[in-house]
Symmetry: C2
């Protein structure tokens, strides 16, 4: 719906001050209540405004805006999957077994205190495998990507931010962490977000 300048002004006032009675909107615009009546009626019919007796007008999101809001209102915490975690001392061989057993693309490594210390991808494991080393003898801590180089997200980050981090850093999965101490990069792993998570959300968006 194409709005007139005055209708745009009304919406702006209601966005900032709503719920607001029609009388007050008229005052803000230095117009008579009666002059505004048709505009308020149109905006209400079109679904931009909601009118409630004794309360006044409030702003209603229209469909298109709701859609872009989706990305601001969907968070990592709702989408995160269970993280697959091994210890620093786990052998590369056992890490590969975990990758196959849990059917994941990457696993997270934690230290003795249970804090995130590294990430291992299928690519890291493939590289180790090619090295013709004794896979039972090497601990994952030797081949993993280490803190503070690990890209993470927090439960309160948007899913959109998680997608952007994966694309920007060319990685397929992110550990979801809770910060224990930022100064020393101490994080607890509470989940996992992958490009599979994003692909599922993409389908969910289409099917709304």
């Amino acid at each position: 719906m194409k709005l007139t300048k005055r209708q745009e002004e009304i919406l702006q006032i209601v966005k900032e001050e709503g719920p607001i009675p029609g009388k007050l909107i008229a005052e803000r615009l230095s117009l008579k209540r009666a002059t505004l009546r048709p505009d308020l009626a149109i905006l209400t019919m079109a679904g931009n405004l909601e009118a409630r007796t004794r309360v006044g007008y409030s702003y209603k999101e229209i469909e298109g805006e709701k859609y872009s809001k989706w990305f601001e209102e969907h968070f990592v915490r709702e989408y995160k999957a269970h993280p697959i975690v091994v210890k620093n001392s786990t052998s590369v061989y056992d890490a590969i077994v975990q990758i196959f057993l849990k059917d994941v693309g990457a696993i997270f490594v934690v230290n003795e205190e249970g804090h995130l210390s590294g990430v291992i991808s299928r690519k890291d494991l493939l590289r180790a495998c090619m090295g013709n080393q004794d896979l039972h003898g090497i601990p994952v801590s030797v081949i993993m990507t280490r803190m503070p180089k690990i890209i993470t997200v927090k439960p309160g980050d948007t899913l959109l931010l998680a997608a952007k981090k994966m694309i920007e850093h060319h990685i397929d999965s992110l550990p979801v962490v809770q910060e224990i101490d930022k100064g020393t990069h101490t994080y607890k792993v509470v989940g996992r977000i992958t490009k599979t998570t994003i692909s599922r959300a993409f389908i969910e968006l289409a099917e709304r």
Copy 2:
């Protein structure tokens, strides 16, 4: 905007028969033209209908519907990346080298005629690596997933269909193919769609 039953009926008629003059809409509903006037005015103001002199009313997509249309109007052909392809006779070792050189998750295998014969993922290569075999001596055709088991998409499929196929079949990438002969499963590989492609589209959607 919440529509009345009559307004819904008007929209239905215009969707099916538009552009259609108001007089004809009134006839379809066995109502007088004058009776319909307020409803037509509301639907036009709200942006559901477009009124043109001497032509009549036609249906206009509203914002929310345009958004869901995005998924019907974005195709594999616009998003596909360059496929990394090796021959049946390529060694597993050389396939792994390609995975690292091209930084991809899977590569496609073609036969002597250049037609798709298989797909190899990082997982397939990792499994072969674990087998302690001579990676230079084994051709990829021994370890690959073969036709007709390969899940494919066509350039004219929607990106949404590609996302659904990857989620449904638990795979990270799809060869984009042109059919040469369906009966014998003969396909030419013309591209690649991955969960990275879908994640990029997800970001693009948010930034529209």
